[in-house]
């Protein structure tokens, strides 16, 4: 992919930080508002897509590193499954933090309430793990396919 015009790049520079922050907001508030790990991860991933499209696949390789993404992906997944495993004293995927008083362990007010970040047990942690996994998975997929597209284009021209 070639890089796009200066207008696009400037707007991208301006916007992508907000998109990423919005994505992380969705991830972090998954247990209170609509959204969650997947949705937020997809939003962050779209910021990467924007960067990739506006700067072109060759230039964006300088600041989007596939290795780091895949490291984060593995880390997120491992965190997720470890959270599942840590409920194993009772059952796999047991929500051992909910209503326990420790991290995210406050009991929710039953019924309609304004929302409290410190509830949900393992759910916010899992949201973060999954969010991390999804955003880096999107990053890896985008970068790999963009590089693959360069390959096929070279083939086409030769």
């Amino acid at each position: 992919m070639k890089e796009m015009s200066r207008i696009v790049k400037t707007v991208t520079n301006f916007v992508y930080g907000f998109i990423i922050i919005f994505g992380f907001y969705i991830i972090a508030h998954g247990h209170l508002t609509p959204g969650g790990g997947f949705q937020g991860g997809a939003v962050v991933g779209s910021a990467f897509a924007l960067l990739l499209v506006s700067y072109g696949s060759l230039n964006s390789n300088k600041f989007l590193k596939k290795d780091i993404f895949s490291l984060f992906e593995n880390f997120g997944l491992t965190l997720f499954i470890v959270l599942g495993f840590s409920g194993l004293g009772i059952t796999f995927f047991y929500n051992f933090l909910a209503n326990s008083g420790s991290w995210f362990g406050d009991a929710a007010v039953i019924g309609i309430n304004p929302g409290d970040m410190n509830t949900g047990g393992v759910i916010p942690l899992m949201n973060i793990a999954v969010g991390l996994e999804v955003l880096s998975a999107f990053g890896v997929i985008l970068l790999t396919m963009a590089r693959g597209a360069e390959f096929t284009k070279k083939k086409e021209n030769s």
């Binding site: 508002t33 929710a108 309609i112 309430n113 997929i141 693959g148 096929t152």
Partner: protein, 115 residues
């Protein structure tokens, strides 16, 4: 009949997807057909969960006294959407690989394996 219009939209979605799979000759179009079926099925799931006049099943600052839509289909749809993304990404990558080696995306030519 008219009340079931969303289900008929689902049927049309799936039907169009199947039509694409059966009669379109381009691998990318076939991938689009799979996406169509998938969207139809997702729409079907989400349609099943709808309740007239109900709100989203979230308690944070919800308007009081209203019924909530069924939450399970939303969870299922979320799962199946992500699975769909994964499938589509893989299909497109394999199609790119085929293009790299065959130089074409026509199903009539992408058939070295036959007989």
């Amino acid at each position: 009949m008219i009340g079931n219009l969303p289900y008929i939209a689902v049927a049309i979605f799936i039907g169009l997807g199947i039509y694409t799979l059966m009669f379109k000759k381009n691998l990318i179009k076939i991938a689009i057909g799979v996406c169509l079926i998938e969207n139809g099925v997702n729409l079907f799931l989400i349609t099943l969960g709808y309740k007239k006049g109900a709100i989203a099943p979230i308690y944070t600052q919800a308007p009081s006294g209203q019924a909530m839509v069924l939450p399970t289909p939303q969870a299922l749809t979320l799962t199946s959407i992500v699975i769909g993304i994964a499938t589509t990404a893989l299909i497109l990558s394999v199609a790119m690989m085929i293009y790299k080696h065959y130089g074409t995306l026509d199903t009539d030519q992408v058939r070295r394996l036959r007989g």
